[in-house]
Every structure is written in structure tokens, then in C-alpha cells.
Assembly symmetry: C2
Homo-oligomer: 330 residues x 2
């Protein structure tokens, strides 16, 4: 067991969005290393929460169904916690454009509820906030480091930007220790595959496992991908390191890949499958960011994090998971 895993033994850990993709993978690891885990999730059908995600640990964690927009429940739930992994969020770019208010309530206002609750009732808690590469907008240079200007191309990116700034502000002004991780495309078992609300890759995997063709839009865009176990490492390392307090860190992948090459790799790993390369639908084109891949040198140098799972290995494990469990995710 690594030092950052040992640090969680016997600790009280709250995870918002705990039944979601990343939250559930994190909770499985935390249970394994001996933490007392409390999961908060709204189980809104369009979001990532899913009870099957914690099927293997359901008797070893506590689950509290509530919404981060419920100021009163958050006020109670943060009390007595050593760590808070703040992963709940609205993640769909298109949903944020169609209903900007709901996105604002979840990604900005509810973050203030959580931080105010910590400030008043548990100021010694340590928070890690899951932000997104989406806030950079269309890259001005590659790879994108943390100093890259922020010019979000959707309402979601703007509200996530506010959400991460609140965390840094409460760190700086009130000493509520917080760290921000800017995630790129995260993939792995328990990712949402029902639709493209979290990432297009989810729907590709589902259709592939179902034996149906999937669509690749354009295909020449470069993207980077982080396997969920590597994200879990980063979350636990930042939570337990004082060097991370008040910091922003990009996550990234070992190498960037063009989407058409990703599609081909998936088909190869699946032992067959079909896809069509198509041009962007107009509502998607408007918010396309072109190529993106992150410079994660900062978290590598400060905390020693780097992605350990290759894309080939991670995708194979993901396909294997959905071949076995797809019925629960449709």
C-alpha cells in the first residue's frame, strides 16, 4: 500500500457524486484501504450516479441520497468528515446551453453551499474539487498547462470555472484547505455509456459492445485520456498532500491520440466493430475546441503523479467490464 493510501485508514471521507463514475471507483479504493466512506448522490437519471456502480461494496459504505443543491443536507453531511471529494456536477455541455440555470445551480451555487457548510461546521476538512479542461476553451497552444488563459466555450465551462475559484478563494481567505484537479477525458469501468453526456467515448463503447456501429465526428482532433484508476490516484494524492493546498493541477494521458485512431484501436481491442466518420452537427460545431491535450508536468513535479495505465490496457479493461455488465448501464 502506498503512503497516500495508508493515510486514509480509519478516516471519514465524504464523496459528492459518490455513485457516479469517478466517485464509485474512488470509493471502491477507499473501502479497500480502510476508510469510512459516505457517498452523497442525487441519482438524477441524466447524471452519472448509478447504484450498480457500488454493487461490490454496497455493504461497506453509507449512501445518502440528496442533492448538492440541498443546502441543509450538505450542512449536516460535511460534519465530522476528514476529507471531501467534491465530484458532483452537471457535466453535459449541451444541457448547459439548453438549461443554463440548472447548470449554474449545481456547478456554482451548490459549491458555495458546500464551502459555506465547511467554513461554518468543519473548517479543518480537506477538499478536492473535480474541475474540467472545458474551462480552457479552444487551446491557444499545446500542450495546455495551468497558466493557459480561460475562455470557456459553453455555460458549463463558465460555471465550473466559478466553482473552482470558490474553492481556491475559501482556501486562501478562510484556510479551508482545497485543491482543484482539471480533468481531461476520463474513462474506465462505471463510466456513463447510456449517452454522450459525460463523454462521447461512453456511447462508442456501448454501441461497440452491443455490436452496433458508432459515429466519429470529424476524427482528426487530438485528445488525451486518463484511466479512472489514475484519476483515483491523483485524487488521493492531492487530498493527503499539504503541497496541493490552494493549487490547480491538470491531469492528462500518456500520449494524445486522434479520435479516428482511438476508434480504430477500440475496434481492434474489441475484436471487431464498425464506425462512420461524419462531420459535426451544427450545434456541436459551435462549441468544438479543436485539438486538446494537457501538460500535467505540474502535478508530476509537485506530487509525483503520472498516468500508469496505458490507453490500450485501460480500454481493454473498460470493454471487458461492459461486456460483463452492460445490462445494468443501458
Amino acid at each position: 500500500m502506498t503512503p497516500y493510501e495508508k493515510a486514509f485508514r480509519g478516516k471519514n471521507v465524504l464523496i459528492t457524486g459518490g455513485l457516479g463514475f469517478i466517485g464509485s471507483n474512488l470509493s471502491i479504493r477507499l473501502v479497500d484501504v480502510g476508510a469510512n466512506v459516505l457517498l452523497v448522490d442525487s441519482l438524477i437519471p441524466e447524471y452519472g450516479g448509478h447504484l450498480f456502480n457500488i454493487e461490490n461494496i454496497k455493504n461497506k459504505v453509507r449512501v445518502n441520497i440528496s442533492d448538492v443543491r440541498d443546502e441543509h443536507s450538505m450542512r449536516y453531511l460535511v460534519q465530522g468528515q476528514d476529507y471531501l471529494f467534491n465530484l458532483a456536477g452537471q457535466t453535459s455541455h449541451l444541457d448547459s446551453m439548453e438549461d443554463p440555470y440548472t447548470d449554474l445551480e449545481i456547478n456554482a451555487k451548490a459549491q458555495l453551499y458546500i464551502l459555506e457548510a465547511c467554513r461554518r461546521y468543519n473548517p479543518s476538512i480537506k477538499l478536492v474539487f473535480a474541475s474540467t479542461r472545458q474551462i480552457y476553451g479552444k487551446p491557444e497552444y499545446l500542450p495546455v498547462d495551468e497558466k493557459h488563459p480561460l475562455r470557456p466555450v459553453d455555460v458549463n465551462g463558465i460555471n465550473k470555472m466559478a466553482g473552482e475559484r470558490y474553492h481556491l478563494l475559501y482556501n486562501d481567505v478562510y484556510g479551508i484547505r482545497s485543491c482543484v484537479l482539471r480533468l481531461t477525458n476520463t474513462y474506465g469501468p462505471r463510466m456513463r455509456v447510456k449517452d454522450a453526456r459525460q463523454t462521447f467515448l461512453g456511447i462508442w463503447i456501448r454501441l461497440l459492445v452491443e455490436g452496433k456501429p458508432f459515429e466519429v465526428w470529424e476524427g482528426d482532433q487530438l485528445r488525451d485520456f486518463t484511466y479512472v484508476d489514475d484519476v483515483v490516484d491523483a485524487l488521493m494524492m492531492t487530498a493527503t498532500s499539504p503541497d496541493a493546498d490552494g493549487q490547480i493541477f491538470n491531469l492528462g494521458g500518456e500520449a494524445s491520440i486522434r479520435l479516428k485512431d482511438l476508434a480504430a484501436l477500440l475496434v481492434e481491442l474489441n475484436g471487431g466493430g464498425h464506425y462512420q466518420v461524419r462531420s459535426f452537427p451544427p450545434e456541436r460545431k459551435r462549441i468544438d475546441i479543436g485539438d486538446y491535450y494537457a501538460d500535467f508536468g505540474q502535478i508530476r513535479s509537485v506530487l509525483g503523479w503520472h498516468p500508469k495505465v496505458s490507453l490500450r490496457q485501460g480500454l481493454a479493461q473498460t470493454l471487458s467490464f461492459y461486456r460483463e455488465h452492460l445490462e445494468h448501464y443501458q
Copy 2:
């Protein structure tokens, strides 16, 4: 009359925060050049709106008392307007820390109401949004240009950052023409002098005119100041120039000045007065940004704007206004 003034003749202009400091000065100019002016203001006592501000033009403008958080009234009011100067906002840094939710509702959520109303009911409107230097946080270099990283030191700065980004997003994605001005310390007749909610300078001026001593905190900080007539020029120039669409421009002053020198200049112009230099109260020290002055080269090169009123002249006019009208502003 300048070309940008002529452009407003016979045009319909909506000003949110229209009874406030900048809104009222803008409306006086707009009436003068022949625009049809509609002012929206909530008249919340802690904010800048004040009916005496439009005493001289009260029969030449329409006034609609409502709050930008009133989604329904905004939906109606934007219709038929050629220009919208979006000046309403919560401006107090300390209030934003004590009640972050109200600041969020006004400076972020209500901005979405306004933009959605424009998108649905008047997509050919042109907007100018009043943002603030506060979003830069503590300067990393001086003078601060528009590329300076954004690291707000209070909730107000974070929400204003979201508010300006919404405007740019609606410009880029939906073609709702918008421009953002980042104001520094604006001063002049009709500024709030009752307390320090807009700027410390307001309360200095009131106490000086009342013959009472005022307090200077620290005193060595460099700041820049823009006289309100120069801000009105910038608002009208950006509104009428297609080159400003989707742009962010800093405003600034002719020169920066240390606060203790500003205090001495005020006393000189007033022909007497007293002040004490004191150290920061702790709650203020936490969010102090040190020296700040803006690089306004961008709006100078794109639109030809530059400050025309010297600090000496502007302060003299401001003192003169409050010597005559202080009874209305106490």
C-alpha cells in the same frame, strides 16, 4: 457632437442599474444626444440607485423599478431596444463574502436571465457589460493588461468573472453582440458617498465635504481612477463599434497615484481637511490586492479611447457637486 454620440439619436436604450452612479451619468448624456432612454433599477438601499441622480432629466427618461433577478420583467424590458448597457450589479466586496448567494444571484444568474431574454426576444440588440478590475486579483505584473491571469480575491470577483464570460459566450455562440469593459475605480458626481460599498473614495469625499476627518488605510498602494464622463465615452464607443463585439477592454486613468497622495490632493482641492493614515482592518487585509493600475492600450488602439479628464479636474468637479447636493446623498 462626436460620431458615437450621433449614433444614439432616436435609438432605444435600456440601462440596467440606470439610477446608479454610472447609469445616471450615461443617461444624462444619452438624453442630451437624443436617445430614448429606459432605466431599470431595483433601488435597493445598499446599492447605487438613487432618484436624485436623474433629477435634471426626470421628465425625459422612463424609469422602471425592477430587479435584474426578476426574469419576467427583464424578458419584457429588453424587447424593442437597440442597446443595452448592463450596469446593474452587487459591487461590495465585503457584502459578497458575507452573503455570497445574493452576489451570485445578481452578478451571475441575473446576467443569464438578461442574455437569455435577448437571445429569445431581441437577438439583434447590442450589449455592453460593466465588469471590474477586481477579477484580476492581486496583480502579478503592472500595468495589468487584459491577458493578465484572473485570480479574484473575493466572491464578487468570481461572480463578475462568470457574468462577463456569459456575455462573451452569447456573443460567440449565438451572435448576441456583446462587449465587456473592465472598470477600475470610477469617480465623479452621483457616485455613492454614503459608505464604502462602491469605493473608499466616496466616503472620503463625503467626510471631507462634511468637514470631518477621513481614514486612509496604509496609503502606499498605487491605484488608477477614471472620471465618470470618460467611462460614459467608453460605454458609448464600445456600444456603437462593431470592432468591440466579443472584446474585453480595460479602462484606466491618466496616471496612477498612491492613496496617501490622493488624500493630500483632495484636501488641497477642498481648501482644507484632515485624514488619518491607519493600518488595514484584518477582514480587509485578507482581500487586499496591493498596487493596481491598468494598461488600457487595447481600447486606445481599437477605438481611440483615452481618459480626457485629469484627476485634479475630475476631483474638483466631484467635490463641487457634493458641496451643492450632499443633503441628497447622506
